[in-house]
């Protein structure tokens, strides 16, 4: 393990710039969003996570897959991969878990080459959370507040210095680039980090009982909570747009002249059109769609991916809802609390 003075974080990231596109939480006006390091101020003095997860660096909101070029003699298909080498710093444990989960979705069975190209060229530098935000419940899902895996480097804020754990050979190579900026960590710092983790776990205002939910969810299809909460939903899709593990997309072909672009966009299972077919809609009621979102994360995906929960406990879906629909509240109702 290494130590990095906080003052050396920016210089370290600058050292990576020639070889990598460096992404970090930045101040955009008064908002904190992930962005390319060369455009704005680096935000390190905030409690909490950027408002959208960094999943869009691997699975963009709008991604051109390929272009059909239709000429009289031939039709060519040109695929567009993004193989830019990238480092994302400041990835909170919930988002690290989210990306680990998306790796399961996109890199298993049929391998998604677009996600694969981006993933193969992206390094994740995590940042543990010393304090939970209002709607965070990662501790209940054991996806946080401190990460245990799925990072190349992991930073813990000890005050004026970061403790840096190495999670991969690629991460180690990054440290080599920063060479003289890093010191060796001692057991004192490791102890401090452990204490901070315990302290962090006590700051959670939201929690759920995962065991109870797992036990009760199979029988909760008819729980009145689905209809009760769904009646408020305005179908904005926000819960899906900000979610670190939401994976669904829609594909459109857009023709302009003799070129047609096939573009994929984030899609939302909360929209009625998501399951609309020519003759009927297999999830016509909003209550069914709300249930689908929760079940997909807490029942279906775990069944499909060997028990991995499809939710990171980041609480962003609750924060972004204009109708105040609260995922922890729904889960507590499912667990019959």
């Amino acid at each position: 393990m290494k130590l990095l003075n906080k003052a050396n974080l920016a210089p370290f990231l600058e050292r990576l710039r020639p070889e990598f596109e460096v992404v970090a939480p930045l101040y955009e006006g008064q908002d904190i969003l992930f962005g390319d390091l060369d455009s704005s101020q680096l935000a390190t003095d905030f409690i909490g996570k950027p408002r959208l997860s960094p999943k869009e660096y691997l699975f963009p909101q709008r991604e051109r897959l390929f272009t059909f070029n239709v000429c009289p003699e031939s039709i060519e298909i040109e695929a567009h991969f993004n193989e830019t080498k990238r480092v994302i710093w400041g990835v909170r444990p919930c988002d690290l878990y989210g990306l680990k989960f998306l790796d399961l979705v996109y890199l298993k069975d049929y391998i998604d080459p677009y996600y694969q190209a981006r993933r193969a060229n992206t390094l994740l530098l995590g940042l543990n959370c010393n304090e939970a935000e209002e709607s965070c419940f990662c501790s209940s899902l054991r996806t946080g507040p401190f990460a245990k895996e799925a990072f190349d480097l992991l930073f813990t804020d000890l005050g004026d210095v970061f403790l840096v754990e190495i999670g991969s050979r690629a991460g180690e190579k990054l440290i080599e680039k920063g060479a003289n900026l890093f010191n060796l960590a001692t057991s004192k710092e490791r102890e401090k980090a452990k204490l901070l983790e315990e302290k962090s776990k006590k700051t959670f205002k939201t929690s759920i009982d995962l065991g109870k939910i797992k036990a009760k969810i199979a029988a909760a299809s008819d729980n009145p909570v689905w209809a009760e909460e769904a009646v408020k939903c305005i179908l904005c899709g926000g819960c899906n747009w900000v979610c670190p593990t939401c994976q669904c997309f829609n594909v459109e072909d857009i023709k302009a002249g003799h070129k047609t672009q096939r573009i994929r966009y984030w899609d939302s299972c909360q929209l009625g059109g998501f399951t609309q077919m020519a003759a009927y809609n297999s999830r016509a009621a909003q209550a069914e769609r709300l249930r689908q979102r929760i079940y997909h994360k807490f029942s279906y995906n775990p069944d499909k991916y060997g028990g991995e929960i499809g939710c990171t406990g980041c609480g962003r879906c609750t924060d972004v809802c204009p109708a105040g629909i609260n995922i922890a509240y729904i889960l507590r109702r499912v667990a019959n609390e």
Binding site: E28, K232, L271, D319, P322
Partner: protein, 681 residues
């Protein structure tokens, strides 16, 4: 990726988000979490509604009509043709033979320029825009009662109200972030009363729902006021100190007993009484209203009755109480503020007022050109079209409006537009109206220009250019300037910033506005000086006109009632996924996929009696036209009422509506006309 902070182009909530730009294209949206209104939340249009910007159907070059088709032309050629035609027309038929339609979607700067163009260059007050079709009643009704016609509260105050009376507003679907505040108020214990002939989403979430007959609002409101006075619940102190005309009001509402109101409105007596008691029981009661109140031949009466109710209980002029008309378009408030109206200059300063005309003549330098600004009020939207048919208006310049789908009685509209000698349409797509034009000029979307929008809570906010204009299109302010210059009235602005500086000099409520001051999420007018912080709520201490004026109204029936031949009431309206004439939203996959086609909402009992099944295609016929579309059978609409959203040009609800206007506001009665339904074979 570049992130550009801008204001949403759809509804009047005025949310802010960042457009993510890569490779000259908009590829992402990020809500602004520190914005006071959106607070990180957006509706589906905000999140996913911008794909139309890159649609291959965007107009990217001027078009000139050639028989039944269009050919691309250079800007020079297009401008020259317009200049020649406008000059010919004005010389032969006078200045008022040209009429201008401005756009509630365009910026304040653009609205300011186009009314300046109409007045200083073309010499006519024939300038209007679609506010005529939605909140003209508000502008007049609230100006009469309070002295100024705008939402009195800020959106965030709604969360702190104890009672919210929502009448004629489908708030969660049409103003989602205001609906958000209503829901938050409910979690804090607020009582919400909803009056609407349709049981909308917010009606389902309300504490008390009144399913009243379309057009019976005056009777309902007068009934509530009758109860309040009868039970001594009125605010005597407020009435004495801050209002005039109470005795008149008392006399008028005396005959609207709960029994009589119940008979007219179809709402049970007990509900009217309960609503009155709840509303009067708090000093933090807010009235929220929208099209259900304004789009009637009694629109002004409806608005004034809302104002009367608020003044009666002392529920206006404070934080957390007031009267809130929800403006629909992103900049309809601004378009009105900028004077894109036939009777006022920017800032609601009357054109008939000689002092005002002198002020603007001086500021606009027309004296030097030997011109006086026109002194008579001009024509309103529907009047312009009637005037075209009468042969008085010969040419029109329409910017960012689609009357071929949005105006009432579309067959009539088509006839009128086709009568014109010359029609210029400026838009981003070849709309149904542009299709009839002689010259089409390609403007740009909100993402391709700088400017400001004014939201429903009077918040003036920046839009910022994120990508370059597509193809050969130009920002609308540039087009108006260039056209004006070629027509003899030079306009030479380097940027919209400069235009706003001019606006601030001439418009008292915008007096303290500059682009620099707008950087921190804008300012709410009135903002009269550069040091003024803006105004969260209106009429504190005194009304804009001094004392609030009670303006009692008597119930009048809607212009066209159902009868034996046309036994149903047609009420038109909107859904959350599409916006107005669908020009933009029907090109967004996420929005269009939800509602690719129009439909008619029919009460399930009515449907059964008519032998119509859910999903079956029906013909809906009125005295003015007919359309065919599938029906949706539901219990959530009053028996005898049919609802059709007007977004779908191929099943245009406005083929059926009538141009019955409020006599003062000239707003059409979109909410009531008579139709019959038949099975379409």
């Amino acid at each position: 990726m570049k992130k550009v902070l801008t204001t949403c182009e759809f509804c009047g909530c005025g949310c802010n988000f960042y457009l993510g730009v890569e490779g000259g294209e908009i590829v992402a949206v990020y809500p602004s979490f520190s914005h006071p209104i959106s607070q990180g939340r957006l509706c589906i249009k905000g999140w996913q509604g911008h794909e139309y910007i890159h649609s291959p159907e965007r107009l990217i070059a001027p078009l000139i009509r050639k028989g039944n088709r269009f050919r691309e032309a250079s800007w020079n050629e297009a401008y020259q043709l317009i200049v020649d035609k406008f000059n010919q027309t004005r010389t032969r038929y006078g200045n008022d033979s040209v009429a201008v339609l401005s756009s509630a979607k365009c910026t304040n700067e653009e609205n300011y320029l186009i009314q300046k163009f109409a007045r200083a260059c073309l010499g006519t007050n024939n300038v209007d825009h679609c506010a005529r079709l939605c909140h003209a009643s508000t502008v007049i009704g609230l100006a009469t009662t309070f002295g100024s016609g705008a939402m009195t509260n800020s959106i965030n105050e709604i969360e702190g109200a104890d009672v919210i009376l929502i009448i004629g507003s489908n708030t969660t679907e049409q103003h989602p972030l205001i609906g958000d505040r209503v829901l938050r108020a409910i979690t804090k214990g607020a009582k919400v009363i909803v009056a609407d002939p349709r049981q909308t989403q917010v009606a389902k979430l309300s504490s008390l729902y009144l399913m009243h007959k379309p057009g019976s609002d005056v009777a309902l409101l007068n009934g509530m006021m009758n109860v309040i006075i009868a039970e001594g619940l009125e605010d005597k102190e407020f009435i004495a100190e801050r209002t005039e005309g109470f005795e008149e009001l008392k006399k008028t509402v005396a005959s609207y007993t709960p029994e009589r109101s119940a008979e007219i409105t179809g709402v049970p007596e007990e509900s009217i009484i309960e609503a009155a008691r709840i509303y009067a029981g708090s000093k933090k009661s807010i009235i929220v209203y929208s099209m259900g109140i304004t789009q009637h031949t009694t629109g002004v009466d409806n608005v004034m009755s809302c104002a009367n109710l608020a003044m009666l209980t002392g529920n206006v002029g404070g934080e957390f109480n007031g009267v809130d008309p929800l403006r629909g378009q992103n900049n309809v408030q601004g378009a009105c503020d900028m004077g894109a109206l036939p009777n006022v200059f920017p800032g609601y300063q009357a054109v008939t007022d000689e002092k005002m005309r002198n002020k603007f003549e001086k500021a606009w330098g027309v004296r030097g050109l030997g011109v006086n600004l026109p002194s008579q009020s001009g024509l309103t939207v529907v009047e312009m079209l009637d005037s075209a048919l009468e042969g008085k208006v010969k040419a029109m310049y329409i910017m960012g409006e689609n009357p071929m789908v949005s105006d009432p009685d579309l067959n009539h509209v088509e006839e009128a537009l086709k009568t014109l000698d010359f029609l210029v349409v400026q838009d981003i797509f070849l709309t149904e109206t542009a299709f009839l034009a002689d010259v089409v000029l390609p403007g740009v979307s909100f993402a391709e220009k700088d400017g400001t929008f004014t939201s429903t809570e009077r918040r003036i906010q920046r839009i910022r250019k994120a990508i370059n204009p597509l193809g050969d299109s130009k920002p609308d302010w540039k087009i108006v300037s260039e056209l004006s210059s070629r027509l003899g009235y030079p306009m030479d602005y380097k940027s919209p910033r400069e235009i706003m500086d001019e606006i601030a000099r001439l418009t008292p409520i915008y007096g303290g506005i500059s682009y620099q001051r707008l950087e921190n999420f804008g300012l709410q007018w009135p903002c009269p000086t550069p040091a003024h912080p803006g105004t969260p709520f209106l009429h504190k201490g005194s009304f804009s006109r001094g004392l609030g004026k009670f303006s009692p109204a008597s119930y009048k029936t809607p212009a066209e009632l159902p009868d034996v031949d046309y036994p149903f009431i047609l009420t038109t309206g909107r859904i959350s996924f599409h916006f107005h004439t669908g020009t933009m939203t029907r090109k967004d996959w996420a929005l269009d996929r939800e509602y690719p086609k129009g439909y008619a909402e029919v009460n399930s009992e009515d449907a059964k009696e008519l032998g119509l099944r859910n999903g079956q295609t029906a013909k809906v016929i009125s005295r003015r036209g007919e359309i065919s579309l599938p029906i949706r059978s539901t219990e959530a609409i009053r028996k005898g009422v049919v609802f059709i959203p007007f977004h779908f040009a191929e099943a245009a609800a406005n083929k059926l509506t009538a141009a019955n206007l409020d006599p003062v506001a000239k707003i059409p009665e979109y909410k009531v006309c008579a139709v019959r339904l038949e099975l379409a074979l």
